[in-house]
Amino acid sequence: MGIEKALRLVKDLPRVALNNIKNSPMDQKKPHNLRRGWGKNKTHGRGHKGQGQRMTLPKLGFETGHKPFYLRVPQEYYYEGHHLKRQYPPLSLLRLQRMIDMGCLDPNEVIDISSICMTGHYHLHVDRRHYGINLTEEGAEKFSTPICIEVQWASEMTIATIERLGGVIMTRFYDPLSLIALQDPETYFKTGKPIPKCKLPPTDAVEYYSDPKFRGYLADPEKIAEERVALSQKYGYDLPDLSESDKLSLLLKRKDPRQIFFGLHPGWIVNLTEKKILKPKAEYLQEYYHS
């Protein structure tokens, strides 16, 4: 958009010709100061004798022979890129059960990352490279509600505990911009931005999210069904038949890989004050959000 604005400005300005073109100020090199001006005679600003006048000063960082500061601290490559790595702050099954018991979470609805964040008992900070929920195993023996939950990281034990009780667990990836919308939907809708289109996981996460063992959202549903059976045999419990449960419609609820909120599509703008939803009409926008 800056180019269009600049070209519109140029239209009304005088004709660009050979006599009104200058270089950008940062590119203009200053000439080397020879120090021959008034007051700069004799020593030329160098003082008297010594290394300063004789151009024999030591190199930058030198500390008269002992090991200098910049060489004292060794390089530790195992911390390389630690500030850029994805983090999944943990949420234990114990805490989850407590939230359900206290009434913060409704087991009759799909438990999403946004519903967990809105309880107030779990916090996500997207600017600290938090990429979602890691459901840990602590409290597995005390967990006792069949739920439909969507998290970003889960181990085998957690998957087993939830499925044993007749629930469904899915692992799903959200990119940081989508997480900003998910962790606090109200403030996001108040900004007036359209609902973002969720991006696919990065190359080192694609394997996890397309693995049926971890119930990834990109995995084959048939293979997930096979893995459910295998897991039940491994941990030694009877796999309950979900088709007989009351909550079948709930347990079958799934989001499109590009969708963030249930019932809302990417590209829509939600107006909370007037209680309206604005949908894009232009073809290029529809093409973009449907792709």
Binding site: K11, R15, V16, L18, I21
Partner: protein
């Protein structure tokens, strides 16, 4: 100039006679120009309303320009063309233009300044005065830099070439920015061809005056074989110039107030600039021996 024009007029008479002899038999087959067709029946001539652009960015709108003629003094439009935004609507960067102008000026320069150093001065090698006893500072021969008539230390030495090559992207983007400026400031006109009905210089002068094209104009055609009428007409005017596409450069575009391109020239320019702007390969490693072949 009078003699030269007379000689050319004589040559022209010979040529025209020769042409009429040849063409008299096939006058019926002579094709009327686009504008003659348009005058007879405006609906017979297909108006150009669009142009196919190569690799156009779908998030940027193509620019549009009128297709005009030089067949009449009055301004008649034959249609409208699409111009590629990556060439005719590039970020208007003045510093790229500055770099191009400086390069065009400096790569041809040779600095001929030469001052003699101590060894070049024609001076006897003997001691000027005895070491001691004179009351003056001690010295050797007259070429010393301390002497008034001595040598200049580290002065300019001999013919020095200020040749350098501006990186390719700067040169490509320089052409694109110059074209964008010309388009944005309404100084760019696209013409179907450079053929005019007479070689009278007044015709071209009237044409340029009625259209307010300014004091200087640059006509660009795709090849260096130009129609004869326009070459004779523009020979009278030092400020109206013709160029083929391979001679297009930033300095000439900015020096002349208006830029007039033919449709064939636009096609060629677009193709070449798009090719080079997205290309980062070099055919061979640069060396000073073979530098001129590469550019």
């Amino acid at each position: 100039r009078y003699l030269w024009r007379n000689s050319i007029c004589q040559q022209k008479i010979d040529i025209t006679l020769k042409y009429t002899d040849e063409a008299s038999g096939s006058k019926a087959n002579k094709e009327p120009t686009l504008y003659e067709k348009f005058l007879k029946n405006p609906k017979s001539v297909p108006l150009i309303t669009s142009r196919k652009l190569e690799n156009c960015n779908k998030y940027r709108q193509p620019r549009q320009a009128w297709l005009e003629t030089l067949s009449t003094v009055e301004d008649h439009k034959l249609g409208m063309l699409d111009l590629h935004p990556d060439i005719f609507a590039v970020h208007p960067r003045l510093d790229i233009l500055y770099h191009n102008l400086r390069w065009q000026e400096f790569y041809k320069k040779i600095d001929y300044n030469w001052t003699p150093s101590r060894g070049d001065l024609d001076v006897s090698g003997g001691k000027q005065m005895p070491q001691k006893g004179t009351g003056r500072a001690r010295n050797r021969n007259r070429s010393s830099i301390m002497f008034r008539t001595g040598a200049k230390p580290l002065g300019p030495k001999g013919p020095r070439a200020l040749f350098y090559m501006l990186p390719k992207q700067y040169r490509v983007q320089g052409l694109c920015t110059a074209l964008s400026f010309k388009y944005a400031q309404n100084n760019l006109h696209i013409v179907d061809s450079l053929e005019i009905p007479t070689d009278d210089p007044e015709y071209i002068q009237d044409l340029i005056d009625t259209r307010f094209w300014g004091f200087s104009a640059l006509f660009v055609d795709d090849t260096d074989y130009m129609p004869e009428n326009i070459t004779y007409a523009l020979a009278e005017f030092p400020s109206y110039n013709i160029l083929p596409v391979y001679g297009l450069n930033v300095r000439d575009m900015l020096k002349h107030e208006t830029l007039i391109l033919t449709l064939a020239a636009v096609e060629k320019i677009e193709q070449k600039l798009l090719f080079h702007s997205s290309r980062n390969k070099r055919s061979s490693k640069f060396s000073m021996d073979t530098r001129y072949d590469q550019y």
